[in-house]
Amino acid sequence: MYRFNYHKASSLSEASQLRSGADDGVFLAGGMTLIPTMKQRLAAPTDVVDLAGIEGLNGIAVGDTVTIGAMTPHADVAASAAVRGAIPALADLAGRIGDAHVRNRGTIGGSIANSDPAADYPAAVVALNATVHTDRRDIAGGDFFVDLFETALEPGEIVTSVEFQIPARAAYAKFPNPASRYAIVGVMVAELDGAVRVGVTGAGPCAFRSAGLEAALAGGLSVAALDGVSVPDGNLNSDMHASAAYRAHLVAVMARRAVGQLAG
């Protein structure tokens, strides 16, 4: 790790100012990606602006929608009876992120702002038609993830909360890396406003909806509707964990498992 300046902001505006005043500033949420990256010297920011001291970024509100504050750790989402009551699949997803240490430190804001292709939350953001609230505006979940580690966030923009639509039903199936528990492929299938939405993470450069799987399931959520349905592998990731062809296969399998959970 290289030397850097640490700042603890007490408000969103102070955080913005601290970051914009730095040569190469970054925001720190849970630090589950940033800190290891800095320790490996893959990142060398001059200034780290900690968001943990800002009030109002941590918490869960359940009403007509489920709103999760950006600094809410995964463990809180997983343990929330209100979330489990409204969107069981979201609590289930949060409870299977990483390990207990990661779930106690990692935050939803940090997870989605990083747009790691193997993160779990992005599948829910696109499948549940979420709205990402920032200190400047609202961003539709479908527009948020742009590419590998790239989002619609502008430099210095801070995610304040993520607001999920409550589906009639939803399920998340994941093929985890056995060591890290990152999603080699994760698929959320949701029935929302009478339509089926399929959010895929882990497979491509960033989370996306699968038009092919959604079309196959448009007639009803049954595993049989996915018989013979394959997923194109042209744009999928290929790395030491899985080839693009295998990821495409896993997307179809995880979709079947998610639908199977709903049918069962």
Partner: protein
């Protein structure tokens, strides 16, 4: 740390004709071969490169 050449003590095992000793993974390494034999038998293939990851098995299944 500087290199420190020294004598290699030789203490042959007295319990077998070769005087050899198992070391390190000697006790465990047989399991790897046994599992790979089981996997290749189940898949009906003659060879499969370790490790038998899910993708390796999937590829073998597809021929």
């Amino acid at each position: 740390m500087p290199s420190s050449p020294g004598p290699t003590p030789v203490t042959p095992c007295t319990h077998n004709p070769l005087g050899v000793k198992g070391c390190g993974e000697a006790g465990a390494i047989g399991a790897t071969a046994a599992v790979m034999n089981a996997v290749t038998d189940a898949l009906g293939v003659k060879e499969l490169a370790m490790p038998a990851t899910s993708e390796t098995v999937w590829n073998a299944l597809r021929g």
